[in-house]
């Protein structure tokens, strides 16, 4: 009986993850090779042309998603690192208060936050409307429906996911290591560059992973902040599935997106030397 215990404990989750994660992937793979339409039904024809058709039609949106996701990730890294650094080294006894304040936005629904952000940026809203009223901005000034609005929205929405892992990595850095570097005549910049930064890389690695994938695949920011000129691949997949009922194309696009993200992660992990990173993270 005791030998059976772990299997009995694992069984419900195995079934759930197997039936609803593994089988659906297989279903999606199969649908992506079918032809037909929603009215007459779909038939398996091993039609790999779904992939070339989908890519031919939507490569702009796919590349745009990767670009926006990448830009937002870089922006989050640049904006978030100093915050994580300051809280980890100078936050003192109020560290947890600062972290709590950073997490505060998560108590509001993602959708609602994005809409409030849209609201704040709206052409004649409380911010720009007021500034325009004072004559500080030209009448035709607008931010909504621009690339800047979408990338800004992604940066805004996922920033805490970048800050937290970097904070965790920096928190573990022993201040005595920095003192030692300074005793050995390293300048403040050199101590940061040669000691602190390398030690924080596992956090940067985790932060980029936690933000790049969801930012690239997110359909909400583009839908609410982007207008028609900034559609991302997520919007296309949603429309193809839910409005056009074009399941084969939508499945092919979903698979392509996932494949591209996986290859991207693999290259990124290789470039950073995951083994070193994982080793540092384990310590």
């Amino acid at each position: 009986m005791r030998r059976l215990t772990p299997y009995l404990l694992a069984l419900p989750s195995w079934m759930w993850l197997g039936i609803f994660l593994v089988v659906p992937m297989a279903a999606m793979a199969s649908v992506s090779l079918q032809t037909g339409n929603a009215i007459d039904g779909f038939a398996m024809t091993f039609s790999f042309s779904n992939y070339s058709d989908a890519l031919g039609r939507y490569s702009t949106q796919l590349l745009r998603s990767l670009l926006y996701g990448g830009l937002a990730t870089v922006a989050m890294l640049v904006i978030g690192y100093p915050v994580a650094y300051w809280i980890a080294f100078k936050g003192g006894t109020r560290k947890s208060v600062y972290l709590f304040l950073l997490l505060l936005p998560f108590f509001v629904s993602f959708v609602l936050r994005t809409i409030s952000w849209n609201f704040l940026l709206s052409d004649n809203g409380i911010l720009f409307g007021t500034l325009k009223g004072w004559g500080l901005l030209p009448e035709d000034f607008h931010v909504l429906a621009t690339t800047f609005a979408v990338v800004g929205g992604l940066t805004y929405n996922f920033l805490p996911f970048m800050i937290l892992p970097i904070y965790v990595a920096l928190e573990r850095v022993d201040p005595r290591v920095i003192e030692a570097a300074q005793d050995l005549y390293a300048t403040r910049t050199a101590a940061f560059r040669r000691v602190v930064l390398p030690l924080s890389l596992p956090g940067v690695f985790a932060g980029v992973l936690m933000t790049f994938v969801p930012a690239t695949a997110d359909p909400i920011n583009a839908q609410i902040l982007g207008g028609t000129a900034n559609t991302m691949i997520g919007n296309i997949i949603q429309t193809e599935y839910l409005t056009n009922l074009n399941y084969p194309t939508a499945s092919a696009l979903s698979f392509t997106l996932m494949a591209v993200l996986l290859v991207g992660i693999f290259i990124y992990a290789r470039a950073l030397g995951t083994e070193n990173v994982l080793e540092a993270a384990a310590r």
């Binding site: 215990t5 772990p6 299997y7 404990l9 694992a10 989750s13 195995w14 993850l17 609803f20 994660l21 593994v22 659906p24 279903a27 999606m28 649908v31 100093p82 915050v83 650094y85 300051w86 809280i87 100078k90 947890s96 600062y98 709590f100 304040l101 950073l102 936005p105 998560f106 108590f107 509001v108 629904s109 993602f110 959708v111 609602l112 936050r113 809409i115 849209n118 609201f119 704040l120 004649n124 809203g125 409380i126 409307g129 805004y156 920033l159 805490p160 992973l209 994938v213 969801p214 997110d218 909400i220 839908q223 609410i224 997520g234 997949i237 599935y241 979903s254 997106l257 996932m258 993200l261």
Partner: protein, 263 residues
């Protein structure tokens, strides 16, 4: 000289951190403020005076109320399922050696790292292929799927820090397997289970992407809000957002205070 430079840098970073905090909170401030806006016209983008009207008329939009109730029921049911099966798997992974452990760990990781969009799309592919009608049940299935790994991870993290000799001692003193679990193991992993439960409730009530694929004609709170963007978000949405925000913050503070008192 160098210490003065250092202090100035630190002060600038301090101010910078506060600017980021204000930036992150600004949409929330807008949401709370405009729940009190006494708007006269259809649009709700300019401040027109203070009112408590929307708090009094909170449930006047019936399909919004239904959407909120759907969200709460779905979050509650999927959290219960998630916590039960996730805790079981967390225990298995944290306490036992068994065949397929590596593969199980991989599955747990895959469920966390699959983009929501792909998860929703693949579930819809399954349901379409199998002619499964989409309703609240398919939403619950999806929500358990994307939450369960988080419970597994928090429970496993908690259990690997526990001393197994406590459980052995309980068994040596004649406790049954179930008695040991209920009186020794469960109380000590409870903080992990609770954290997992709160996370899974929050993930469920917040989800738009996966839900939009598997909802059929059932509408949840986030879906209703996105659907209303074109016609204008009514102030009641801001009020509901404010109330959910307030309750969440109170629970979090209460938890933190309770945790501090315990130690």
């Amino acid at each position: 000289m160098s210490t003065r430079g250092t202090r100035l840098g630190d002060r600038l970073l301090h101010i910078y951190t506060w600017i980021i905090i204000v930036w992150l909170s600004s949409p929330i401030a807008v949401m709370i403020l405009f729940g009190f806006n006494d708007k006269k016209s259809k649009s709700n983008t300019s401040w027109q005076g203070f009112t408590l009207r929307w708090y009094a008329e909170l449930f006047d939009i019936s399909d919004l109320t239904v959407a909120l109730r759907n969200s709460l029921v779905i979050a509650a049911v999927s959290t219960v399922i998630t916590v039960v099966i996730g805790t079981m798997l967390g225990l298995a992974l944290g306490r036992h050696r068994f065949r397929g452990k590596g593969l199980t760990n991989f599955l747990v990781f895959a469920a966390i790292s699959t983009p929501e969009l792909v998860m929703g799309a693949s579930l819809l592919s399954l349901f379409v292929s199998g002619n499964v009608p989409r309703d609240a049940n398919t939403i619950i299935v999806a929500h358990v799927l994307f939450s369960v790994s988080f419970v597994v991870v928090t429970v496993r993290a908690r259990i690997v820090t526990l001393d197994p000799s406590l459980e052995e001692a309980a068994r040596d003193l004649g406790a049954t397997a179930w008695g040991t679990f209920r009186q020794v193991t469960l109380p000590s992993i409870l903080p992990g289970v609770m954290a997992g439960a709160m996370l899974s409730f929050a993930l469920s009530i917040d989800d738009y992407v996966v839900t939009s694929f598997v909802n059929g004609s059932t509408v949840t709170f986030p879906l209703w809000i996105v659907g209303a963007v074109k016609t204008g978000i009514p102030p009641q949405v801001n009020v509901m957002g404010t109330l959910i925000f307030g309750i969440g913050v109170l629970i979090a503070i209460g938890n933190a205070v309770a945790a501090r008192r315990r130690t």
